[in-house]
Every structure is written in structure tokens, then in C-alpha cells.
């Protein structure tokens, strides 16, 4: 598997979090990443926080490439990413596939499965992943009892849709160079919003094949595009570690306007 950098991938750092049934205390800490994201929409109250923490029925770990939710299935729970990267995937008959979304800690991969019942795409662990499962009856209870939290979760699915729209623009209208640059700007901002960026650097546990499947480009063209970005000193990569030395320059290369990410503090964040 081809990593983004020139050197071989380094193993992911262990988070030391337990698998399976976990204590309320541990879940409360784990869902902080979701609370932090939802508070970009509005404040989450103490009772809402407590309810969300108790709504997690179990935490499951997945290996890279493992299915989290199968396409065509009718899940009874939604999946919240606590650690690692997950992807929404559509498989094509020719054996190729399209990655429709990257999901990072704090993202619900399939909150919409609560309403849509049958999955029109699958969810796969793109790296080692830790996923919190929230039963649909708990989400139904949220909609009955917590209107403000309901709106925050609705905002979350609306944000997913905004990201889908931006990806469509990328696939339809941007050059490969702009598209990959745009995706890296987006990942930097999204990861930064959940505290996963240190200075200008972050872990992107994705292969070039993942980037190709997400952007509709061949691995050959992705590789060439990344090399061009590296030559222009817009991206520095070392295995899975990505450094963006000059975000403003990368934004200009990508024609990136962060407004669609709905960051707290306005469009300039």
C-alpha cells in the first residue's frame, strides 16, 4: 500500500482506550470529541451531554479494510468515530469503488441510517478505527426529549451534505492539483477542529489509493499530483504525517473557501 509520503508508514499510536463495554466515565471523555464538534452549532447542555454518553451501547475496534456497516443492510444503530478514519464507500460492479466521505473522530458516519433504514453505501475502516455504537432507539429518544440536541445532530448531517457538495465540485470542475490541495486543506481544518493538528502537522492514515478512490483519480495521477505539491513546498509528507508549511499558499492553490465547513468563529477560521 502506497502511503502519501516517500517513506514507509509508521505504526499508529495506541490510544490505550478499552474495547467492548466501557465505563460511563470513559465514554463521557470519549464523546468529548463529538460535543466539541456539535458546539460549533450551539451549546450542548449538561443533561444532553449525559444522555449522549449513556446512549453509547458499545465501542468496537476495527482493522483497516474491515466493514463497519454493509451496503444494503438496515442498521439498528449509528456509528460515531472515536479514533481513526472511516469512509463511506460505494462499490461498483467492475471491482472499483468510490469513497464518498472521509470520517474522522467526532463524526457520525451514518446518522442518516436512523431515517433512511437501508444503507445505499457501506462504511469501512480506512485505518484502525474505534467506533461508538448508538442504538437508533436512543436517537429516537433524543428527538423526543432534546429539541436543541436534535437540531445540533441535524446540523451535523447538513454539514456532511455540504462536504459532499464541495467534493462534487472538486470531481466535476477542479484539476487534480486543485482537488488534492483542496482535500488537504479540508482535512487540516477538520482535524484541527477536533484537536488533532499539532502546529501545521497531522496524521493522515490514508493511502494514495484512498485519495484516488475519494477524488475519482488513478493512483498514478494522485502520486504525480502529490509530487507536484511537494515540489512546490505546499505539502511535506513523511509516511502518514502531513505538514502544511503555508496554509494560505495551499488555500490559494486549491481555490479553497472554508465557509462550507461551518467552523466556529466564521468563514475565516
Amino acid at each position: 500500500v502506497k502511503t502519501l509520503g516517500d517513506e514507509s508508514a509508521v505504526p499508529p499510536p495506541s490510544t490505550g482506550l478499552p474495547s467492548g463495554i466501557v465505563s460511563d466515565m470513559a465514554v463521557t471523555t470519549m464523546i468529548d470529541v463529538l460535543i466539541r464538534k456539535l458546539e460549533r452549532y450551539g451549546a450542548i447542555s449538561g443533561p444532553e451531554r449525559t444522555f449522549l454518553a449513556q446512549a453509547v451501547s458499545r465501542v468496537v475496534e476495527y482493522e483497516p479494510g474491515q466493514n463497519i456497516v454493509n451496503e444494503g443492510s438496515g442498521p439498528a444503530e449509528s456509528c460515531l468515530v472515536l479514533d481513526g478514519f472511516a469512509g463511506r464507500i460505494k462499490l461498483l460492479p467492475a471491482g472499483t469503488r468510490q469513497i464518498l466521505a472521509f470520517h474522522i473522530p467526532g463524526d457520525f458516519c451514518d446518522l442518516h441510517s436512523f431515517l433512511l433504514k437501508r444503507m445505499d453505501h457501506g462504511i469501512e475502516a480506512l485505518s484502525r478505527c474505534k467506533i461508538a455504537k448508538v442504538p437508533h432507539e436512543k436517537i429516537a429518544e433524543i428527538t423526543d426529549r432534546f429539541p436543541s440536541l436534535t437540531r445540533a445532530l441535524w446540523w451535523d448531517t447538513a454539514l456532511d451534505a455540504a462536504i459532499h457538495r464541495e467534493w462534487m465540485v472538486g470531481m466535476g470542475r477542479r484539476s487534480a492539483y486543485e482537488q488534492i490541495a483542496h482535500l488537504l486543506c479540508e482535512m487540516l481544518l477538520r482535524l484541527r477542529a477536533v484537536g488533532l493538528v499539532q502546529d501545521d502537522s497531522f496524521d493522515l492514515p490514508l493511502s494514495q489509493e484512498h485519495l484516488g478512490d475519494a477524488s475519482g483519480l488513478s493512483v498514478v495521477h494522485v502520486n504525480r499530483t502529490l509530487q507536484a505539491l511537494r515540489r512546490g513546498n505546499l505539502v511535506i509528507s513523511n509516511g502518514r504525517r502531513i505538514t502544511i508549511p503555508d496554509l494560505q499558499a495551499l488555500k490559494e492553490a486549491a481555490d479553497f473557501d472554508p465557509a462550507y465547513l461551518q467552523m466556529k468563529g466564521g468563514p475565516e477560521s
Binding site: 502506497k2 516517500d6 484539476s175 487534480a176 492539483y177 483519480l217 488513478s218 493512483v219 498514478v220 495521477h221 502520486n223 504525480r224 509530487q227 507536484a228
Partner: protein
């Protein structure tokens, strides 16, 4: 699985591929090269007018095949400027 390397050529640069890709067959490598040339041509058309783009496929023993695309612009009327 055999490992194939895709070396990209255009008028300005050669992009080497140090890591290569493991693919089950040479046929898959041919398809991958064809796709890459098509994608490069799509990008190329936004930036420049004409030129040659090529992907050379190699394995550990050396070059195997080359896929290229030539983009030509031919003026068919005197009203079209020679060098746009």
C-alpha cells in the same frame, strides 16, 4: 503480485515513481496507465494548448510499455491566430 512503476512524462518534466504499485496483471497496469494519461490530458487542456503526455510502465526488469496522448490544435481558418 508484480510491482509496476509508472513514470510520467510531459514537455516540462519527468515524474518518477519510486514506490510503484502492486497489480495482479500487466493488463491492469495498462489500464492504470491509460487512465492516468486521460486524467492528465483533462488537466493539461486547462493549462496549455497542445503537447504530448506519456506514461511509461516499468517493472523491476525495465520498461514494458508506453501510453501517450498527443494534443494538437490545427488552425483551419486564417481568422484563427497561429499562436494563441
Amino acid at each position: 503480485m508484480p510491482r509496476y512503476y509508472f513514470v510520467f512524462h510531459d514537455a516540462e518534466s519527468v515524474t518518477i515513481d519510486e514506490t510503484g504499485e502492486e497489480l495482479p496483471t500487466i493488463e491492469r497496469a495498462r489500464k492504470e496507465a491509460l487512465r492516468a494519461v486521460g486524467e492528465a490530458a483533462r488537466d493539461f487542456s486547462r493549462q496549455r494548448g497542445a503537447g504530448v503526455l506519456a506514461v511509461e510502465v516499468r517493472d523491476d526488469s525495465g520498461p514494458i510499455l508506453r501510453v501517450s496522448a498527443t494534443i494538437e490544435i490545427t488552425a483551419l481558418s486564417k481568422s484563427f491566430p497561429e499562436e494563441a
